[in-house]
Amino acid sequence: MEWIKLIGILIILVGFIFKFDTIAVVIVAALSTALVSGMSLYEFFTMLGEAFVNNRLVTIFLLTLPMIGLSERFGLRQQAVILIKKIKGLTPGKFITLYTALRELAGLFGIRLSGHPQFVRPIVNPMAQAAAKHTYGDISKEDEDKIKARAAANENFANFFAQNTFIASAGVLLIYGTLKDLGYKVSDASIARMALLVAVIALILSAASNWLFDKKLAKKYNKIKGVDK
């Protein structure tokens, strides 16, 4: 009956599928797991409180929000658009690769961006669509959607695979903390260095994939236009 301990995972699964409130689902999952493994309510609340308080480090990024809020108000996004517009002759693939590289660089410096609402929707997707129109003329609705998906996906690649290159990122702190709890004393700088390798590989792969995407679009639309470039 050891398997009953996995009930928490089942609850999370069901909770997410039916889109119940996330915080409540997580707490209910923790509670059920604790109860089936024989903890008392008192023990559970103590453990939950202790675990949450001792993990406050994970949420220290909240301190960066006031500065980011101010920068946003005073034209951070607008200035980014001005800078990007200065670069000419871009295909959608090249533009998305450029964004991925910049996003990874931001990750290296620990700049936390909630990329989809702040950059992908207002900047990356419109600029990539504009680049497509400029290079190939009008493109089909499916290809428009493919560019959207690619813009969103590359935001995730850059965010995920590069975030641990920053030494104070939540991921590095969690790896460091977990290893320490398990008895392995390691340095956070060596974790960040290892993560750099992953970030570089991810960038190369995503650049290659975007290059292939450009070639596919070029083949399709240049044939229609009857132009050979």
Partner: protein, 306 residues
């Protein structure tokens, strides 16, 4: 210097707690918010747990967290009236300030990285850098403190309840661990993985992170459990380097994030934001990369950790 780190961090937590309480007061006073009492309570409780977490008994913090869960469950936490920022204002100051607007962000990064190389470490670095960067941002933009506070409230509320999710999931991971969830999974895996086979151990650790992350929707929650359950017995105790294995395991988990609808923020949110037809369009675009990356992770861990 190292002995001061806990005290400095505690100071930062108190600061975060105070910011959260400020948002609580604004929420309580915000008559346009239909759930102002609940929303105010949510931020007040969070503020108390952050600022006084070390002073009040853990059991009280645990109960307070449960109350936060009840508040969000009954939709009593809503984003209220926020200070608005306008496209015009942004455009105008972009002309006035130019690329200097990036300076505070760059400064944040540089100061944090520099401090991370001192005995104070990266964690203190990010806190100190935040404060320095904020002061510089206020100088560059000539923003009065009132604007800074309004924008802090705007950011806090829009990050909102999902902002504390990573921390809560880390806590969930600890509860799972104490309950022995890692052992159950570890037993199940040990039935499949031949003891002493390094390659099998590496594959189990990477795939375990990916699959468990797909189920949980979050690699942070998976990390504690899978590392204790699979990573330590099947990779680290076979002589695997903990830094290499641990770091690669985390990004192996992110391969799972790319593949799961459970990671709503990353895969469902952009579909809505970009008004795409196919709800799974982003996941489909990510799948080839995720599969290539997990294979690369397995190879890297096998080659580099031993």
């Amino acid at each position: 210097m190292a002995q001061y780190i806990p005290a400095i961090l505690e100071f930062f937590y108190i600061l975060i707690g105070l910011l959260s309480m400020m948002t609580a007061v604004r929420c309580f006073k915000d008559e346009t918010n239909s759930a102002r009492i609940g929303t105010g309570l949510f931020w007040l409780i969070l503020g108390v747990v952050f600022a006084a977490g070390k002073l009040i008994p853990y059991v009280v913090s645990g109960v307070l967290l449960a109350i936060m869960g009840v508040l969000t469950l009954f939709k009593q936490v809503k984003v209220g009236q926020l200070a608005d920022i306008s496209e015009e204002e942004g455009q105008k100051s972009a002309e006035r300030i130019g690329s200097w607007i990036f300076f505070p962000s760059v400064l944040l990064a540089v100061v944090a990285v520099v401090i991370s190389y001192t005995p104070l470490g990266g964690q203190v670095g990010i806190g100190l850098a935040s404060i320095v960067a904020l002061i510089v941002a206020m100088v560059i933009t000539k923003a009065p403190p009132k604007t800074a506070l309004e924008d802090t409230d705007r950011m806090l509320q829009s990050v909102g309840t999902t902002g504390i999710l990573p921390q809560l999931l880390a806590a969930l991971g600890m509860v799972f661990n104490a309950a022995g969830v890692g052992d159950v999974i570890s037993h199940a895996i040990s039935g499949i993985v031949p003891e002493g086979n390094r390659l099998a151990g590496v594959i189990a650790y990477c795939l375990g992170m990916m699959i468990f992350t797909m189920v949980m929707g979050n690699a942070f929650a998976a990390f504690t459990v899978i590392t204790a359950g699979i990573g330590v017995p099947f990779v680290m105790m076979q002589g695997g380097d903990p830094v290499v294995a641990g770091t690669l395991a985390m990004t192996a988990g992110f391969c799972g994030t790319l593949l799961t609808p459970m990671a709503a923020n990353f895969n469902a949110l952009p579909v809505a934001l970009l008004e795409m037809d196919d709800t799974n369009g982003v996941i489909k675009a990510q799948a080839p990369m995720a599969i290539m990356m997990i294979i690369i992770h397995i190879i890297l861990m096998y080659v580099l950790a031993f």
